[in-house]
């Protein structure tokens, strides 16, 4: 079994009022020096088989079809174990 992560973020040009609300709360809590906060979603997709290229392509299709709305959002897909080495797929 392999885990694939899908991260979905609003496109940079789209206003994110939720991120702004978080940003405005930070100074009150004593967290200084934060320029911007943007809020997104993370999906952990556990596959029955290995996270090979074919499987990743399937997850990308999944993201395109359902997990993200590409009118307003963009997504990245990577195998979970790639995180340790900093690689994204």
């Amino acid at each position: 079994m392999a885990r694939v992560v899908v991260e979905v973020m609003l496109k940079p040009e789209i206003l994110d009022p939720q991120g702004q609300a978080v940003l405005r709360a930070l100074p009150r809590l004593g967290f200084a020096g934060v320029g911007e906060v943007r809020q997104g979603k993370r999906f952990e997709v556990d596959l029955d088989g290995p996270a090979d290229e074919a499987a990743l392509a399937k997850v990308r299709e999944m993201a395109e079809t359902l997990l993200a709305n590409t009118v307003i959002e963009e997504f990245t897909v990577y195998a979970a174990e790639a995180v340790a080495t900093g690689q994204t797929v």
Partner: protein, 228 residues
């Protein structure tokens, strides 16, 4: 025989009863449609009512868009079936790509529940022929994810083709170009965030009025269906 107008109920739909009531009030035959039933039961038009289909999980309308009934609604809409999406229904139409753009969280992050003045921008759709271009109507909104957005090219196209159906006189939520509702190119599919089905009777419509400005959405489509 009068026209049959279907109203879809998804898990989490709230305004199906009001929409059915609006349909009956103008003299059409209301037909309840169920999200798991792909059969449209021979209806002549479909209303996707407001609410929180599938709990608004993932994104508003994102799950509903793949329900069995929507496969039939999408196929029908492409063939010219009149479809009206109200609030959550509008979100479902955008997720289905029957209408362009998407809905985002309101700028102020507030759930807004208020009667608003709208300006009618197009009367050449199946659902707005009984209005006049430029007419001001009062219809309530009630949503937190009502900020319409689309890329500049799409917005330009919507305006150039006269597909902006209603605009907010005063923008409540940051919607691009004050857009409250739009139509597809053919004019049979209309989506809007305000709720015409909540502005159909003196007793329950916007107070102090006008209380029944929403009725013309339903009389418009009925007229079209009866004359067809």
């Amino acid at each position: 025989m009068s026209a049959r107008i279907g109203v879809v109920t998804f898990p989490g739909t709230q305004d199906d009863t009001d929409a059915l009531r609006a349909v009956a009030l103008v003299g059409a035959e209301p037909v309840s449609l169920w999200h798991r039933d792909a059969d449209l039961h021979g209806v002549d038009a479909v209303v996707l009512p407001g609410g929180f289909s599938y709990g608004d999980y993932l994104r508003c309308g994102a799950i509903a868009r793949f329900s069995p009934v929507m496969e039939s609604v999408i196929a029908g809409a492409r063939e010219g079936l009149p479809v009206l999406g109200i609030c959550n229904g509008f979100q479902i139409l955008c997720e289905s790509h029957l209408l362009p753009g998407a809905m985002l969280r309101n700028n102020g992050l507030l759930f807004i529940n208020r009667d608003l003045t709208l300006r009618v921008g197009s009367t050449s759709t199946a659902w707005t022929s009984d209005y006049e271009v430029g007419q001001e109507i009062v219809i309530p909104i009630k949503n937190v994810d009502g900020r319409f957005t689309a890329d500049q090219r799409t917005l330009d196209e919507l305006e150039a083709e006269g597909r902006v159906v209603v605009r907010y006189a005063q923008n409540p939520n940051g919607s691009d170009r004050d857009i409250a509702g739009i139509a597809n190119a053919a004019g049979n599919v209309v989506g809007l965030m305000p709720h015409p089905e909540h502005a159909i009777e003196e007793l329950t419509g916007p107070y102090p009025g006008p209380a029944t400005d929403g009725l013309a959405f339903f009389t418009s489509v009925l007229k079209k269906l009866v004359s067809a």
